[in-house]
């Protein structure tokens, strides 16, 4: 991760969902996890477009699962967070924590 390059909000949320799901993450599960935890109803296109971007940056890797009949014979694409992705998450979380430090009393005014 280049110095100063922060994760976008969707990238951040999706990376966190992948860490939560721990190796068993594919598009639909990621989408549902985010919807259950945040109430944000993402489209599957937005999830995959973000995952593609994260993979291009080297933050996640993917592998193809077995095709199943309940998926119309289509294979799953499972995602895993790579070391670079975990580092990016740490930097992003740290940055947000640093910026939010000491503002607890002012939330009402921001």
């Amino acid at each position: 991760m280049k110095r100063g390059e922060l994760l976008g909000s969707l990238e951040h949320i999706i990376l966190l969902a992948l860490v939560r799901l721990d190796g068993n993450a594919y598009g639909m599960i990621v989408r549902r996890e985010i919807e259950e935890r945040t109430g944000r109803n993402l489209s599957i296109g937005a999830v995959y477009a973000t995952l593609e971007r994260l993979e291009a940056k080297g933050y996640v890797s993917s592998f193809t699962g077995e095709p199943t009949p309940e998926r119309g014979g289509r294979a799953k694409r499972l995602f895993r967070v790579e070391a670079a992705g975990k580092r990016a998450l740490q930097i992003s979380n740290q940055t947000i924590r640093s910026m939010a430090a000491g503002l607890k009393g002012r939330w009402g005014t921001i």
Binding site: M28, S43, G45, L51, E70, R71, A75, K76, R77
Partner: protein
Amino acid sequence: MRRCSPPTFACWLLESLLPDPYREAALGDLIEEYALRIESTSRFTASRWFWSQACRSLPPTVWSLLRSRDCLISISIAIGVYIFMGTLKFAADWMISKLVAPDQSTHVVLAPIVFLTTTVIGGCVAARIRRGATIFLALMITITVAILIDVKVCSIPVPWWYQFGFLTLGPLTVIIPPTLFGRLKQQGTVT
């Protein structure tokens, strides 16, 4: 378990427009979730959800396609096919005018046939070279038809649905037939 199949046209749309790397996985995910939803809700609600997912998936997909490096190649292919289609349509119009020598009203009947045949051929050629190029080709055809309607290229009065047909069927015949042929070919290989 109830037998369920998601809305066919929405599936076609996604199959045609989603980019190669995640087309199969995304469609499989939607079909899987649709099957789960149809168990807990009505077929109508599940179909509505599927349609909303399909429609809402298109803007991020197109945006990510525009941001990718492949975008320029796809646009170049679309322009090339567009020129090829223009030449094909011009040749067909010229041949019809020489052989049949139609009057304006016959031309109104023949024009959609020539136009739609050309768009089907163009769509198949573009998809054969690069699947992503069909989106740009469909967009270029929509813009062209909209401009031609605006400048009132047809000298005799035609009903609104005639022009609307060109505007909607033009892009659809670029996108749908390659997917349909691809699916039929796939079924043929399986059997």
